[in-house]
């Protein structure tokens, strides 16, 4: 009872704080500052039709690298904790429905993920959502089998490879043009083609593979935790 009242009190205080801000909010109808600059020069600068990807991978690529590092440390900690404190019962046999779905669905899911990852400079998508969707295809395959996942030795190798690729692509810009993650180390080509926009597709692919292997590693650790088969 006291707990419920306390929660309600905290909620009311938060609501009051939020409503006091509302009159000061301004609805912007036009871009200004950096946003205007990105929208005006983005296509010319990077050759990427999807301006969101241009900002994420090219203009603010260093922030994305930081994000990848954060995700890496989070995944590593989860796997460490799960290996130190085993949890639950270990793998169980899949039900009939899961076992049969896992034979059909992973291929189309993987296709969608590869599309999102490789076409991020042309249409909405990107390395992060593509990677998580890839990991969910892997998860479905894993849930459909009754043994511990195979290939858990390949996952760390893939993760290291893609992380190194991201870093080296960035350093390539430092070596040749004096700017980390410069997009123009290779030509930007014709905007609208699959092979265009400089290193953006390569970086997206590296991010996608890295995110996919990290989440797959977390899932495999979850699955294995608490008993082997």
């Amino acid at each position: 009872m006291i707990r419920t009242l306390f929660v309600l009190l905290v909620l009311l205080v938060l609501a009051a704080a939020a409503t006091s801000v509302i009159p000061h909010l301004k609805m912007r109808t036009e871009l200004d500052g950096a946003g205007l600059e990105y929208a005006r020069r983005g296509l010319e600068d990077t050759g990427s039709i999807n301006l969101v990807t241009a900002v994420i991978v090219a203009y603010r690529g260093l922030d994305t690298l930081g994000e990848v590092v954060v995700l890496f440390s989070a995944a590593t900690s989860v796997m460490l904790i799960l290996s130190l404190f085993p949890l639950g019962r270990g793998p169980t046999d899949p039900s009939f429905i899961v076992a049969h779905t896992a034979r059909v669905l992973p291929a189309p899911i993987m296709l969608l993920a590869v599309y999102f990852t490789t076409h991020s400079h042309l249409s909405p998508g990107g390395g992060f959502p593509g990677g998580t969707i890839m990991a969910s295809a892997f998860l479905l395959v894993m849930l459909g089998s009754s043994s511990t996942p195979a290939g858990s030795k390949i996952l760390p190798a893939l993760e290291a490879l893609s992380g190194t690729t991201f870093g080296l692509l960035g350093l390539w810009g430092t070596m040749t043009l004096g700017q980390f993650l410069n997009n123009r180390v290779i030509g930007i080509g014709n905007p609208g083609y699959l092979v265009s926009a400089g290193i953006i597709p390569l970086v997206s692919l590296a991010i996608g593979v890295k995110v996919a292997s990290e989440f797959s590693g977390i899932f495999a650790a979850f699955r294995k935790s608490g008993g082997n088969r």
Binding site: L87, G88, P129, T132, S225
Partner: protein
């Protein structure tokens, strides 16, 4: 989409998210709490779509609505009956 229809949908989804986020604090069953959290994420993804932020909508749907819910559900399954 028709602008007034879009804003009606946005107000409906926003109100539902607010209500759900209050309800989730008081619900007793862990499974219900996880499903409600997933529903909030899915509504957020639709809101992003209404604001023409397709990239963010895709990311929110794949990470917030699917992956986080899945990990919570899995954790609940691993814990068994204990809550």
């Amino acid at each position: 989409m028709n602008p007034s229809l879009a804003s009606a949908l946005a107000v409906f989804l926003g109100g539902m998210m607010l209500a759900a986020s209050v309800v989730v604090l008081f619900v007793r069953d862990l499974l219900s709490a996880i499903i409600i959290t997933g529903m909030i994420s899915l509504s957020a993804s639709v809101l992003f779509l209404l604001m023409d932020a397709t990239d963010v909508a895709i990311t929110e749907a794949s990470i917030g609505a699917v992956l986080a819910t899945l990990i919570f559900l899995w954790g609940k399954g691993k814990m068994g009956g204990r809550e």
